[in-house]
Amino acid sequence: MQTLDEGMVAAPAKRSVLRLLLLPLVILAGMGLSVEAGLLGPLGEQVGHLWATLSIFGVGSAILFLLLLFAGPQKGPALTELPRWQLIGGFLGPIYVVVLTLATPHIGIAMTMIAILSGQVGKSVLIDHFGWFGATRKKVNGERWLALGLIVVALVLIARG
């Protein structure tokens, strides 16, 4: 799972050979996300969408728990000391995965990914413009509206097949 909003914040990066070596690895990681979605669709059709979703979160939890055990003590406050609203992420994750299993058999993986990206871009542009969810209202420049328009065109193209 990845998101566009933070990603679009251009960060100054070190120039080194390491960058070139890491780039293919990052592309491979992105390919892995599509493989994950590609596995989910057919799995959901066979065992049910919620079961397929459970396989992702169940196996993921188990692996992360093991990694955490072997990673040793962690810095920062204990999870129980955090504000409760920060746990909402766990409720939102399954929505995304269930939708993936529902959509990929019908519109394919590439088009599902485009629609997901559209949601991310659209959300950031609209929230900034209208100041939804208590966000500070920012002026959205022409280029971002153009981006949103292009994305709507892409969605129309997908819908037409």
Partner: protein, 150 residues
């Protein structure tokens, strides 16, 4: 019409995903990526489990009966997370995001086109290629406007 509704649902899921990422990003800063991810996955598993108990109709095939390779999806998610944690500080978030999207869409097109992993094969039509092109240009605009804002 069904397709339009489905598309709308997927677009909404994308919006939900970026809300989730924003919450998790703040969580990750305070407790570390491993713990914030575990928390997200564990809560996700519990929520899904509850939904299954109360809403899921009985299925003919169980998770334990399908071929094991079909259950490896989570591995790709975890590997992705670890690669990003390692790579983003070196290559920068912008480059990393573009690289991920390139990999995602490239692989997505390959799986669709050849029907890999048991997916229905969907040929690369001209309208699908146009959609890709629109998205690519949109990403360029997003990237430029974000750079200007800084």
């Amino acid at each position: 019409m069904g397709l339009v509704i489905l598309l709308a649902v997927v677009v909404l899921a994308g919006a939900v995903l970026s809300v989730q990422a924003a919450i998790n990003g703040r969580l990750g800063e305070t407790v570390g990526v491993l713990r914030s991810s575990l928390l997200t996955f564990a809560v996700g598993a519990l929520v899904t489990g509850l939904l299954i108990v109360f809403f899921e109709p009985a299925q003919a095939v169980s998770l334990l009966e399908v071929p094991k390779w079909q259950l490896t999806g989570a591995l790709f998610g975890v590997v992705y997370m670890m690669v990003m944690v390692g790579a983003v500080p070196v290559v920068g978030t912008a480059v990393a995001t573009v690289a991920v999207i390139v990999g995602q869409l490239g692989m997505g097109m390959l799986i669709d086109n050849f029907g890999w992993l048991g997916n229905p094969a969907i040929g690369l039509s001209s309208s699908r290629m146009l959609a890709m092109g629109c998205l690519a240009v949109a990403l360029v605009f997003m990237y430029r406007s974000t750079r200007q804002a800084q």
